[in-house]
């Protein structure tokens, strides 16, 4: 790897931001390396948007340091604005303008970068070139917002919840685009509350909760850190299960009940499942459901907080 690949594109140290009596960001440290896709994962209200908007120079932090591409907002804002591509959460672009007109407008703000036509091609909106923004679907609007972030040929791309509210097909389309940016070597910081999105797109992830980063690393590292590779979930109808004896089985790391189901975190699926079936047979409990999945970032979040990502 060339040396530039290992340089930090974004460095955040001990960031704090309070709104009235709510602590939105509470001592966050981050480092995004050049060329990687970094994800801020967490439930709504975890402080992701506040963090990313401070990095984008749109919100001022109460304290802490932010260094973007080796520059600082206080002294280098005009240069920084030329180098960043930004997609905000919930922006409504001018509805009366066409796709082409919108991109030509945004392109006019930057010194260099692909033209409007090129940007339309990148996000595959050729067919909608002359359609009004107001007539686009949610997915098309998000792709246009992405194109607006690209017209300055940015060194660093900020994407705030790029797929929230989209249907599965539109999400996949957007993921493909983001993967293309990654392949082109762009540095990306994205926020999401979808663990599958973070797992699929991000080289490294910081999990946020209540304004703090509670874990940081590659998705693999984070999943491995909870010492669990698989989750087994079963339910036994209305029958009473003796959880204590199940918990004593070998290779069971954790046991919980949730909505009438029992969740087991296990290291070795091929040993745990037969043993579980034997044990349930001994207890004479009927099995009504049995599911297994490999551990995900969701399980990491549950392990760390006891809550699900999308619990409000």
């Amino acid at each position: 790897m060339p040396p530039s690949q290992t340089k930090a594109a974004l460095r955040v140290r001990n960031l704090r931001k309070t709104y009235k009596d709510v602590v939105a960001v509470d001592g966050v440290d981050l480092e995004v390396r050049s060329g990687e896709c970094f994800g801020l994962l967490g439930p709504n209200g975890a402080g992701k948007t506040t963090t990313i908007e401070i990095c984008e120079g749109l919100t001022e932090a109460d304290s802490g340091e932010v260094e973007v591409l080796g520059l600082r907002w206080g002294s280098d804002a005009p240069i920084l604005r030329q180098k960043l591509g930004i997609q905000l959460q919930e922006t409504q672009l001018a509805e009366k303008l066409t796709v082409f007109e919108t991109l030509r407008l945004f392109r006019s703000f930057f010194r260099q970068g692909p033209g409007a036509e090129e940007a339309i091609r990148i996000v595959q909106l050729e067919e909608k070139r002359d359609a009004r923004v107001g007539a686009l679907s949610g997915g098309q609007k998000q792709r246009l917002a992405l194109a607006c972030a690209l017209v300055g040929d940015p060194d660093l791309l900020f994407l705030d919840e790029p797929t929230t509210g989209l249907d599965p097909q539109a999400r996949r389309q957007l993921w493909e685009l983001i993967e293309e940016f990654k392949a082109a070597g762009r540095t990306i910081l994205l926020t999401t509350h979808y663990m599958d999105e973070a797992e699929k797109l991000c080289d490294r992830v910081a999990i946020m909760d209540h304004g703090k980063v509670i874990a940081q690393g590659t998705p693999r590292e984070l999943i491995a850190s909870i010492g669990v590779e698989h989750v087994v979930e079963f339910s036994a109808g209305n029958a009473t299960v003796d959880l204590a004896s199940i918990g004593r089985m070998a290779g069971i790391r954790d046991i919980r009940t949730e909505n009438g189901s029992v969740l087991l975190q296990v290291t070795e699926l091929h040993r745990a499942v037969p043993e579980l079936l034997d044990e349930l047979g001994r207890q004479g409990v009927p099995l009504t459901e049995l599911r297994t999945h490999s551990a995900t970032l969701e399980d990491v979040f549950v392990h760390l907080t006891g809550r699900h990502l999308r619990d409000e």
Partner: protein, 346 residues
């Protein structure tokens, strides 16, 4: 990559966005065009040229009728006494002239009705002349209906000023609040665009619409009523340009911090209504007490209207309009500067 010409300048593209958003909003376009036209049409009906009114009266004898017909402002019917009496009671004629037994003339009319009193004067004058009265001094009439001294001549410059103010404050104001609410403004501010371009684009947009804002009421006044344009036309154009810039800057200032359409509406009315009343749109601002005159003279709408009246009606050129231009220039600089400083970009 396409070649970048002046069309790719950020200010040009921002101004184009304003234009497109305006033109593609059929309702906004409709109301901004239809309102000045409706106003002008209404005035057209109210101030159309009418011949002097002719009064209907009745006489009961051919001789009286003959004498009365010498007066052109009277429309004389000869009627039998009973019918004539009926007509004057129901107001179909303003007056009845009838001979009395002693040879005098009797006028029957309602003296609380101005038409009756006027008919009495005209009828008596016609009859006295017909029976031989001579005028003591010869006289002749000079009718004052020249363009430039009528109410419509006074009103049209007022309406032009009012139109510039309304369009320049409403237009940018609503657009800004909308962009702020939809976070479009925040998104644009996240680009390297110089912030003053964003505000300048509103001024440019209003400049492009200026021919419509001013042209409709001015053209209507000139063509339909013959309102004079006695001063240098370029001085009139210059005044309108400066006024548009000053009021648009005012619109930016009014919208600099508000987040909702309701708050913006209230603030805009608070700005404009006092000027509608004080600045002499419909009647001379001189009618207000001397004590408040310095305040009234410092208002931008007063400055525009006074300058337009001086130019159109008295033929004033650039030199005579300098004080008003100074007032407008000061408003422009102060409002734009404050707007740039106070503006909430998200």
């Amino acid at each position: 990559m396409s070649k970048r010409g002046c069309m790719d300048h950020a200010l040009v593209q921002l101004t184009l966005m304003r234009m497109r958003e305006f033109i593609r909003e059929p309702e906004a376009l409709f109301w901004s065009m239809i309102f000045p036209l409706a106003l002008a049409a209404g005035l057209g009906i109210a101030f159309r040229d009418r011949p002097p009114e002719v009064l209907k009266i009745a006489a009961v004898t051919p001789r009286l009728a003959e004498a009365l017909r010498q007066e052109k402002l009277l429309d004389v019917m000869q009627l039998p006494p009973r019918v004539a009496e009926q007509f004057v009671r129901t107001g179909k004629v303003a007056l009845v002239a009838e001979p009395a037994a002693d040879g005098s003339v009797v006028y029957r009319y309602d003296d609380t009705n101005p038409e009756g009193r006027q008919a009495r004067m005209l009828a008596d004058q016609a009859i006295q002349r017909a029976f031989g009265r001579q005028d003591a001094i010869p006289d002749r009439d000079q009718v004052m209906r020249e363009p430039g001294s009528r109410y419509i001549d006074f009103l049209i410059p007022g309406l032009i000023g009012m139109g510039i103010m309304g369009n320049s404050i409403w237009g940018p104001g609503f657009s800004i609040v909308d962009a702020r609410r939809k976070k479009l403004m925040k998104r644009i501010v996240a680009t390297p665009m110089p912030k003053h371009y964003y505000l300048l684009s509103y001024l440019l947009w209003r400049m492009i619409l200026l021919p419509v804002d001013v042209g409709v009421p001015l053209g209507f006044g000139v063509w339909v009523f013959g309102v004079p344009l006695r001063g240098p036309f370029m001085a009139l154009v210059g005044t309108c340009v400066l006024a548009t810039l000053a009021f648009s800057a005012g619109g930016l200032l009014v919208a600099s911090r508000v987040r909702t359409i309701e708050a913006a509406s209230g603030l805009m009315n608070l700005t404009m209504v006092p000027m509608w009343i004080l600045s002499g749109v419909f009647f001379s601002s001189q009618r207000f007490p001397d004590l408040v005159q310095p305040v009234i003279q410092a208002l931008p709408l007063t400055a525009v209207i006074d300058a337009l009246r001086a130019n159109m009606l008295q033929g004033a050129g650039f030199a005579q309009m300098a004080p008003q231009a100074g007032v407008l220039g000061a408003w422009l600089v102060v409002c734009f500067g404050l707007a740039l400083r106070l503006f909430r970009w998200r």
